[in-house]
Subunit: 346 residues, 4 copies
């Protein structure tokens, strides 16, 4: 195959990560990219580590028509609200779109507008969007033209929760998700809270009860469970560049020990290349997955409570890697194509 891909919003961390993966993807023949900043600049001037790997001239946002025309599939690495109209433009030109923003993740326009406090930019498209978490919704994704790529926290949380919810092993009335993320999750824009001197040697919780990934996790947890699930989600900011570790707590409704619980996870994900269940005696660490499209899960029972630890790289399985996995699905390529890179340790 000779896929031509477009990336809109290429100079953010997610856009750059898409380039990192796609420039070595064996079925991608051409990458076109645009950004509201740096138009007219070579991408390797913004990110010199790409020199010799990706020779891309950044187009401006006014050249989106040309970008779409030259692409079979377009990735949107844009802020929410900005994304939807661009998605519509791509769809109208008959191309496929993978949106890494939040605009098509929540099926209800009203819920989106409440949590994001903006009007939706393309409500008519909501009904045909599919939630691109391949391990859980693979069949629904195939053949679609608009994929809503999941948020980083929801990816880590839903992969941890799915076996519990689909197998109805837990009380759905108070599922707790305590997540800790690296700073790249906040993107490359200039915010006081993203400064080195503010984050380094610091740990904090934020967005308690108000983080916008809450309705996303709640909705898809409900889909998995077949009925409503009550989610308490607390994100924390930690001084690492990449990585999310989510620790999930849910009350078991039946009597299980750690060994049986681990077996349930191993069976559930037995055929998945990107989801690994930690072996007995192991508990996952983010360093095991940074730079890869993998998720490692560790599950134990502690006083009738399932405690599940999930680690991903927020920019890969939590964003760009999963988006490429979705592209592979859309174009009927083996799902791991271009996604087998090993991470660095240490």
């Amino acid at each position: 195959m000779a896929l031509r891909v477009g990336i809109v919003g290429v100079t953010g961390y997610v856009g750059e990560e898409l380039v990192r993966i796609l420039c070595h993807h064996p079925e991608v023949s051409e990458i076109t990219a645009a950004s509201k900043d740096f138009a007219g600049t070579a991408l390797d001037r913004v990110y010199p580590h790409l020199r010799g790997h990706a020779e891309i001239e950044i187009m401006g946002m006014e050249d989106l028509g040309e970008l779409i025309g030259r692409s079979d599939v377009v990735f949107l690495a844009l802020p929410h609200r900005v994304s939807a109209p661009v998605a519509q433009q791509v769809i109208e030109k008959g191309k496929k779109v993978i949106d890494l923003a939040a605009d098509f993740r929540l099926p209800e326009q009203k819920v989106y507008e409440e949590w994001y406090q903006v009007e939706h930019g393309a409500p008519a498209l909501l009904k045909e969007a599919v939630y691109g978490l391949p391990e859980l919704f693979r069949e629904e994704i195939k053949g679609k033209r608009l994929v809503a790529n999941p948020g980083c926290y929801p990816t880590s949380a839903l992969l941890a929760l799915a076996p519990l919810l689909k197998k109805r092993l837990v009380d759905r009335s108070s599922v707790i998700i305590d997540s800790k993320s690296g700073v790249s999750g906040a993107g490359r824009s200039l915010k006081l809270g993203s400064l080195f001197a503010e984050c380094n040697e610091n740990m904090k919780a934020y967005g308690l009860g108000t983080h916008r990934h809450t309705p996303e996790i709640t909705h898809y947890a409900g889909v998995l469970a077949g009925e409503a699930v009550d989610i308490i989600f607390t994100p924390h900011l930690m001084p690492v560049s990449r990585g999310i570790i989510s620790t999930v707590y849910a009350k078991l409704s039946s009597n299980l020990d750690s060994c049986s619980l681990r077996q349930i996870y191993q069976d559930f994900y037995a055929d998945e290349e990107f989801v690994h269940v930690a072996l007995e005696g192991e508990m996952p660490e983010t360093k095991w997955v940074v730079g890869t499209n993998r998720c490692f899960l560790g599950a134990v029972v502690n006083r009738e409570m399932a405690v599940v630890v999930s680690v991903i790289d927020n920019l890969v399985k939590g964003a760009a890697g999963q988006a490429v996995q979705n592209m592979n699905l859309l174009f009927e390529l083996p799902e791991n194509t271009g996604l087998q890179q090993l991470g660095l340790y240490p």
Copy 2:
């Protein structure tokens, strides 16, 4: 007052931190210190940042008799099991002892021996030890001669839980404590997991269901509640030198909103100098307390669940600072004497 203090185990991080605080304590006239390593060396050769502040020659463990003789109170910054017999020696010489190890934290010898997998070194003393968390057990501490200084995780968790438990606001059947600690909590001994290249850019959970601070938290939570509390405790290791952030989840048994809950915390700790409740719109960060004896708490209600965030410096309020606070109590000094240092930001 002209207190003479002894420190046994002075070259670990907790021992050093005791020196940092005590060498500027206005009522301390003399510090004697011993360590199994570095005997005969000047302490400022091991820790050059102390030069000019604390001129201390390190004694060997064979000189404990002399150290005890020269002290009014002895701090033990020793490994568990090693601590108890030294405590006994101090008590026998009629001096007071503040033990920063775990040997006297659990009142039941059997529970201690189960969790720590060693025989207790001085079981006869257990009955007169007092748990040195001044904000919660102040009156019990006064006049005692053996203080068991609390663990770092229990300090952060119990300060967060106390208002909920003492006021019987929550269901005691599944209280969850998700804690994240800096690496100094593992001490200065050589362990693979404490290497920079292993911890940096990494996040992990550990000791799920098996961490030795679990029975300590469970026991004192029970004391506060007046009946048994079921604790799920998950510690995590984060790449910072100092700091613990604990996020505590407990199901509210009555209807409260965030504002009322915050007020309950403010009232509960209104007279405490070292415990601060974050104002509306704030959520505590570890950088607010690093280097200080303070705890900041933030409390919100999220879907009928109390979510309380607690931050301390694991080496100060979680160890050496609290030990000095206990010393002040034992010697009827104002509790904040020598403990008003401001932390650094950034």
Copy 3:
């Protein structure tokens, strides 16, 4: 004494650091502070770690008249160019001023204007400014009303160079200063290069041959030597919050060994409380000085070259601490008043 101090630019890292030191300074009775941002806010809302230590309402820049009126001495923690006219205003009201910006560090207006690419804001004041590096220019500082507080890099470099230059031990034709700084040196303003994800796990050189501290180091090195010195200065950015380590290389003009060189340094700084020469077998580390007003120096001879390592905290001895040291000098207080805080380790 009951000194009333004003701080203009209180919400930056240097301004905050001035508050941290001055709020526990035993001769300071009142602190008034202003900032262009956050006017009308309580300072502890911007920096909650100050709560209970410094109850200060931030004034706006339009209230400078009032601030100056209420102060005996005013510290300016402002950007260069903005500082000079405020200094003039303070002087005109008959108060003393300690300027932490660059406006009065270079005696020649032309040199300032070339390097900073702005017009000088108060050239008439240049002639009465004194360079506030007390260990090297103590007598000149006393009795002045306008102190130019040195830059952080120049402080670390000049303390390392002074014995070599004053004693004419080295060839002045190519003195090399290779400095490595933490990120707080770039301040709290929003810059791409100060983001956590850009700095963390990264090391870089910057400003080769163009950094604005170059003429400052060159000028005062010349003053110390009594003739022109040729300085090559290369700053680097390192992923720490605080600290500068400068490694200085200069060709010895006479035959010295490491032991004699160390002795020269010890003699030179024998009476200085804040400058320490590392003992034999030691080489200074930034952690030894972070949070303190100290400089540690280590000096060795390597193939006829003096190699001198100098460490300071860029926000303390490199900014706020030194400014308070200058204030103590101006008001004839013991120079170490309020500056004896010990740093944290680890």
Copy 4:
């Protein structure tokens, strides 16, 4: 080709890094590995991030005969002194060896024994060892059977110095190399100075005048220059996991400006895939190369002094990557085979 490779010392960071690269090397068919620790364990139990990439059972050191028998080439990632006798064993069995320790880097047995303070383990082999820095000694490496893989600091320094020395552009009497390294350079063994709490938020110089890479840099600088070069080398330890930045200072003997100097570097390395010269306006950062086999160089003229900045990943171009590059040369494969991985940013 179906190369069978052996790795001795596989559980250290360099050994692991060899596996990371070789397990995806298209011409490598089999990896056998041994270690003194962890014999009998699966490698992915020690390094779970390798799970699914490299299924290797760790052999003990007593099985070296078998390992050598099954290999076409053996990599030694062992401590110095331990390495040489193993190299001899490999050579005697007629296989090729790439030694990542220091044992064969210095051609003079006496110099080695002076600096390393041990007897050489296989002095007879010294004469046939070749120094494996391909960009500078490519032709000498081809066809050899014993490659001494360069040290990490020497790689970064010699690539920076080569154009200056080979083209005789600088005064050889005082070349200064100021290097800053990440902590993984100290390996995975347990040392106080490698603990997170000791390195984090700290910067220090070490080994001034005594670091063992000094004679290595000095010797090969001399080879490049055609006559003796006087090297002053100062390493520093910085809180990053990976990366070395070396800043090199040398007095120019002729009149050059920055633009001409950069051109000289670009011409010198024009045909090299792994050495890049930063463009005008750029200065290299370690993040540009971490995870890759690349070196980026930046060169400017500052007051008649050439100042050259060089960045590499100490574990890749400074160790395992360069070793694989040498293997490619020995087996007449394209030099970049298996070495084109892109690094992560951020």
